[in-house]
Structure formats: C-alpha cells, structure tokens
C-alpha cells in the first residue's frame, strides 16, 4: 500500500466519486469550489491528478476537441478500484481519529452515530 492520501487528494477523489466516471477537470474544480467555497487552482488540480494517476488511483481518457475550449481537448477522469480503496482507508482513519473529538472541535455530531 502506498502512502496515505493528502487532504487535497482526498478532496479530488471524493469529488470524482460524487460526479461519476468520465468527469472532466472543469467539473471537478467547480464541484470542489461549490462545496468548499474557495477558489481552487487548476494547475494544482492537474498536478495532483497526475500524481494520483501515477499511483494508479485514477485514470484518464482524452475527450474530443471543443470550440468553447478554443479547440482544445479535455481529460475525462475515472476513479479506479485502488482509488476507492485508498479513499475508504482515509475515511476510516479519519473517523477513527475524530471520534469523541466533535465537541472539542465545536462541530455538530452527525445524527445516527453512537
């Protein structure tokens, strides 16, 4: 198993999971910005996606060239099985660590949790 996912890596993988296979960079970035409410750098997004790709967590295919992109093609991403596994591990690590800390972090507990 590779090293644990970084924060931005997790964010991207979750966005990709939410949007489904064949999502392009623009949509991923918009999804992240809409949810987190902060501008995200396109450069950083692709740098991270590339890193995730070399680790086999995501893959991409090239789309068609599009006029609204000045005739340029786009990359369509897909979450691979190891990506999903890594995300799962991150999630369980996070929940394990965060348990009991909710009141100190001053965040509301999610309903339905013990």
């Amino acid at each position: 198993m590779g090293r644990a996912l970084g924060g931005f890596e997790q964010t991207i993988l979750m966005a990709l999971l939410r949007l489904g296979d064949g999502t392009d960079g623009v949509s991923i970035r918009r999804e992240i910005e809409a949810r987190i409410g902060q501008e995200t750098s396109t450069g950083a997004l692709y740098t991270t996606l590339e890193r995730l790709e070399t680790r086999g967590l995501v893959s991409h295919a090239l789309g068609d060239s599009r006029p609204e992109r000045g005739g340029r093609r786009k990359k369509l991403y897909r979450l691979e099985a190891p990506g999903l596994t890594a995300l799962r591990e991150s999630y369980s690590a996070f929940t394990a660590m965060v348990q009991g800390l909710e009141s100190r972090l001053d965040v509301a507990e999610e309903p339905g949790r013990p």
Binding site: R29, T42, G43, T47, G70, R72, R73
Partner: protein, 889 residues
Amino acid sequence: MSGSRPPLLPRFLLALLLRGEEREVISGDLEEEFRVLVGRSDGGKYARAWYRRQALKAVGGRLVERVRRSDAHVGGTGARSDGTGGEGGGIMRGLFRDVRFGLRTLARRPGFTAVAVVALALGVGANTAVFSILDAALLRPLGFPDAGRIVRVWGGRPLSKSTLAEIHDRVTAFQAVTGFESGRLALTGAGPAAELYGAAVAPAYFDVIGVRPAQGRAFLPEESEPGNDPVVILSHELWQGVFGGDPDIVGRTIRLDGAARTVVGVMPAGYRPLNRAWRIWVPQTANPADFSDWSGTAGTTVIARMASGATLEQANAELAPIARAYHDSDPDIFGDAFVKAATVTPIQRAAVGSFRTTLWVLLGAVALVLLIACANVANLLLANGESRSQELAIRRSLGASAGRLLGQLMVESTLLGLLGGGLGYALAWLALWTFRAQVTAAVPLGDRVGLNGAVLGFALATSLVTAVLFGLWPAVRALRPDLRESLQGGGRRTGRGTGRRGMNRTLMAFEVALSLVLLTGAGLLIKSTWLLQRVDAGFRSENLLTLRVNLPGGRYEKDEARVDYFRRLEDRVAAVPGVVRVGSMSFLPMTSTHMSTLFTVTGRPPQEDTPRSFATVQAVMPGMGEALGTRLLHGRWLEEADRADAPHVCVINRAMATAAFGAEEPIGKQIQLFGWFDATVVGIVENVREMGLDQPARPGAFLAYPQLPGFSTMYVVVRTAGPPRDLIPSVVAAISGIDRDVPITQVATMNDVLRASTAASRLTTMILSLFAAIAFMLSVVGVYGVISYTVSARTYEIGVRMAMGAGRSAVVREMVTRAFLPVGLGVLVGAGAALALGRVIESQLYEVQPRDPLVLVAAVVSLLLAAAAASIIPARRAATVDPVVCLNA
C-alpha cells in the same frame, strides 16, 4: 470586444512553459471557465483577474513540480553526467537540476551567500544609479526628431542679430539656423497675474528643432518684422492649465505684458522644450532699440540644424573666418575667448555642459566600487572553492565530468549574480526615488532620470558579467586540485593551497588600493564643500527673504512709473510687522544672471597695451545695501537723494577700487560705464560673490535705480527680524496690494538660494562619499574575510605550533602581521594611484589641491585602523585554538 479573449500575457506564459497534453488541458480548462465568467455584468474584469491568477498559479505550480521530479532522478551528488539524456528538453532539465542544486548550496552557506549578494548588490546598485543619470544626460537622445543634428552655435554666447544673419548667409554646413532669447512675460486677464517663462524666437526656429505646433501653425517669416508680431504659441501644459484646454484657443487673444497677442499655435503634448521651464514662444523682432552690437552680454543664442552629411568640423571651419573678422574689427570686445567660442556643440552635450566631467568622475568612482565588490566576491568564491574542494573531488571520483561540475559552479555564480543584480536594481530604484528632488535640481536634464529598459539591461549585464567572470576563475581553480590529496583532506593538514591564499591576499591588496583612491577623492570633495560652505558671500544670508517682481509693459513703460512703483513697494513692505529693512536690486547674487560692461576712469586716457576692464553693474534702490547686509567700507551708500535729476553717483566694491584706482583714493573720482554713463564714486563696499560662492568677486558697481531705471525685472530683498519664511504671506500680500497685475515669483529665503547654488557640488560630494563609504565597508569586510579564512585554514598548523609551546600573543601577532603585508602594499599602490588621479577631480575642487596631504593621510590612517580592527578579531580567534581539539580532528 477586448474582454472576450483571455489576457494575452498569461495565455502566452501558459503556451511557453507548459508542454503537450498538460498545456492543452490546462489552457482549455481556463478558457472554458473564462468564457463562462466573462458573461458576468462587470465587463469581464473578474474573468480576466481570475484567468491571470489561475494561469500564474498553474505555471508556477508546474515549474515547482518539474524541478521536484527532476531531483528524483539526480540523487544527492549531482554526479550524473549525461545531461542530454531523458525525454524532451534535456538541457532544460539539466538546468533546472543545477539551479535547484545551486540554490540549495547557497542556502546551506547563508553567511557566504549574504555577504556575496550584498557586495554585488552595492556594486551593481551604485553603478545602475549612475548609469541611469548618464543615460538621461548623455545617452538617451532629446525628444527632437534627429536630435543629434541640432547644434548650439558659438558656445551659447548671445550674439547680435546681424551676426545671426551673417552665420545664416555664410555657413553652408547648416540646413537651418535660428536664434532665441529667453525671457519672461506677464500674463494678465486669465486669473491672477502669472509670469511665464518662454522664448522669443527668430524665423526658422521650428524648422531647427524639428517640432511644429500640434494645433495651429508656426510663426510666419513676416511676423518677425517689428509691429507684425502680436502672435504667440503656447505649450500644451499652459493650454491645458491656465486656459482649461479651451478647444477654440487658436485665434483667441491673450494679454502678455499688457499687450494683446493672438494665439496661433499650441505645441504638442509631451514636447520637452530646450529649456524645460518654457511655456510660451513669441517671434523675436529686429527691434532697432535693441542693444544690437553691445558688449556681448545681450542678444540671441544661436542654434542650428546640421545639413545632412555636414560635419561639426566643417561648421567650425566656416565659423572661424566670421569670428576673425569681428576680432580684427575690435580685439578688445571680441577677444580671444570670443574667437575660441566660435564652434558648434551638439545640443545635448551643450545642455549637460560641465556636468559631463562630473559624470565621468562619478562613473569612474562607481566602476571602482564595482571592482572592489568583484574582488570581494572573487575572494569569497575562492575561499568557498577551497572549502568545497573535497566535495568536488568526491563527485569527480564518482564519475562527474569536469565540464559538468564547471557548469554547476557557473550556475551557482550566475544565481549569485541574479540575486545581487536584483537587489542592486532595487537599491538603485530606492536611491533615485529618495534623492529625486536633489537629482532633478542638480543634474542637467535631471527630470529625465529614471529606470528604463536600457538601465535594466545595464544592471542585468553588469551583474551577470561580474558574477560569471569572477565566478569562473575560482571555479576553474577549485576543479584543479590533486584528487587524491583532497580526498585525504591533505589540503587542510599540510598547508597546501598557499597559492590560493596568495591570490586571496593579492585581491585584498587590490581592494585596499581601490578603496584608498575613493576615500581620498571623497575626502578632497568633502574638504572642498566644507570650505565652500565657509566662504564669506559678502552679505548676511540668514533672515533674508527674496523674491522677484516683473513690471509688465504698458502701464510701466515710463521710467518714472517704475521708480515710483519700487518706492511704494519699499514703503509698503517696510510697514509689514517683522520687516527690518527692504531693498530692490536688478540681479540677485548667486543666481548667475548679471550684467557686465566695460568701464574707464574718467579723465584717464585708456592705455593702448592694457586690456579694457569689465565691471558687473547693479541698479539698486537705496535700501538695498542695508537689507542685504553688505559691509560699507568707506564713504556712503546710495540714498533717497540720488534721484534721476541729481548728479550720477555710484558705490563700487573693493575689487573695483583695486582694479580701477589701485592705491589712489576712489571717492570723489568719476568712472564711465557703458561708454556713456559717468558716475562719481561716493562709497566703497565689501565684495559680494555675485556669481556663486566658488567664483571670486569681480569688480562691480552699484548705481541708483532712479538714475538707471531701465530694468523692469527687479529682485526684492527683505531683512526680517525672525524666520523669513513666516513673513512670506504678509510680504506677498503687501506687494500685490500695490498692483495685482505685477507677477511675484521666485519667493525664497536667501539661504535657500545659496543652497541651490551649491546643489550640484553637494550632490557630487554626497554621491562620491557614499561610494567611498561602500568601498571602505567592502574592503574591511574583505580583509576580515581573508584573515578569518586564513585562520581557519591554518587551524591545524596553529594547533601544532601552540602544542610546541608558541605563545598566544605570538600567534595573534603573526596573523596580524601577515594580514598587514597585503594591506600595506594596497595602501602604497592606492596612495600612488590617488596622487596620480587627483587631477581628474581638480575641476570639482574649490581651493583644495588635488594632492592635499592632510586628506591623503586621513584616508590612509582610517583605512589602516579599520583593517587592523578587521584582522584582529579573527586573529584572536586563532589564539583561542585548543591544540588538543584541533590535532585530534
């Protein structure tokens, strides 16, 4: 619509710095989002800002990523020698790797890096600042078309209009020739009375300068006929300012000096006149009342445009016979100086004048600073190379080629150069910004000084050449040592590398010598400025307010009207509380405007073989002597009783008393001025340095204004009880209360006038002192660096000697003595050079000999003391070496 496409520069950066798919996808994403954002209501402002931000982040991020990845291939030693392998852009990859490695190396030696960068920055910064002045004054052409062909004729001496006509007819090297007289006209009827500085120009003026009015037309030839001249051309600024950009300005009538003139043209925006204060141009008319062939102090300044292909020598050759003819007609008035001045000078050179010499002195001085900085950096790199020789040897033995390592070292010094150059450029900017007022005041064309592309190029080239040249040499040396010995650390133990330490010491001696030259030069200038500040100007400059009034024509056409005005002025101002005494005079001392004329002693026939003498002439109102505070030596001052109808009298200064009468008693004798004005001497006063503090007083005569009332422009001097600045509003109000249409200008304290007159010499002194201080500091740091390096390189040897029983003081003494050998050598060479180079700044000095022994001794002593201090600190460290620790090391 310009907003529909993403901003050009970021788009270009993306295309330039990203590759392949990466470029396509990122540019595509940004463009897609940009098109969405540009539809917002703010006209694409947000979209462009967003695009710019995103593009810069993308480019920066990708560069960092690329460097990080290339590092993964390299490994720590940098020994991989196949710099050309790998996929696309191998050289770039190799470069990235070296840059990264170089930055890490520099960061690992923060002390070394900081000293080297600061040394370079000081050198480059000082050079850049001086270069920007050079660029403004000499290199960048003035804003006239083909400005290099415009020349000033006859050294700028005012010539009579008939001489101008003669030049026009006889000199074929000129395509066009013209003349101008600068002066002031009072503008009335458009707000408060304003005094406008401008020029009365002869025909063809606009052909010579090559710039024509942007609106309207230039003057017609017939407008130079007397009576045909009520026309005027305005500057763009005047049109925009006083006339509020009136679109119908051409054809409008304005009142200048009480007379109506029609505006026929407006000069283009951004046009910088020959004199940057000019705002208006009027035709110069051949007024028969002009003093047309008078002693050469009034008349028209002649400029010309060279015919294409004509040379300056050709023009000079054609002027010479004209000058000789004048000389033959009257060798007294048209003396040798007049004949010698019959040459042409390119207009820019003429504008810069004697400041050229100053500029070259400064440039020479600043080049020395750079050399010292270079020696410092070279020394540091040498020492650095020595301490790194082991590292380099290991890397070579692991297979790195010498070329590879050399390239690496070069990249390191280039980085140093860029860091130093960047900081230096910032320093230059800071210096110019801080001293912009002084520079504008003291440097001819100083308003053009600034940082531009040429200056940036200079800074970049200087820092890179410096760093690479002085980095290459230590790098080559660092790569030469014997591999085996370095690997064993033998250099440290056996005291090898003495050759390199010899080099260090040579550089140190060189630095000391150069600093001494600069210190001596600065010392000479400081002494000169100090002496200049102590010069007795001949009057009391404290608590003195000065201003100028210019009586417009028309109402003040008659002599009586002018005399009456100044009587009333003195009465009104004297009544202002806080005013002690008021006077008026035709020329203010230190402002370099004056009038001079031939004089003779009445009843003494002029001798054939002695040259006739000139005297400066001042027309003054009675209060002037006491207001200015000039000491009366003998006799009386001019008085109220010296009216127009009274016998003509004059007060002469001490210089004139000596020149005209020698040991005889002057009072009661008569002198003749202008060839027609006879006046009886009634008093003798102390000399006033009218031409400037550094100019000896000339023979001068003060005449009563009512008896010589030709001047419409007069300076008013007000002696005050308290700080003169406090009285400005009430004095100005009192004067404008007499006649609102009389412009009041140049309101200043006499101390300010004095300061302005020495601004240029003080600026030179300040700059050179600054350079000397930098040089001094750099060489002290250099001495310190070399000694402390020597100490650390010889720790082992010192340890051995102390183990054998050498005393601490003996060790310190030996270290200091060794340091002083090169310092002493540097001082000797430097003193010799300073003595030889003293002549260079001779023209800048006032009453100081370029070989002033006191200054030289002071410079030598301060340098020696500083060097001693700098070498004792590390030498004492040598004495604290613990033999046990260092022998076990």
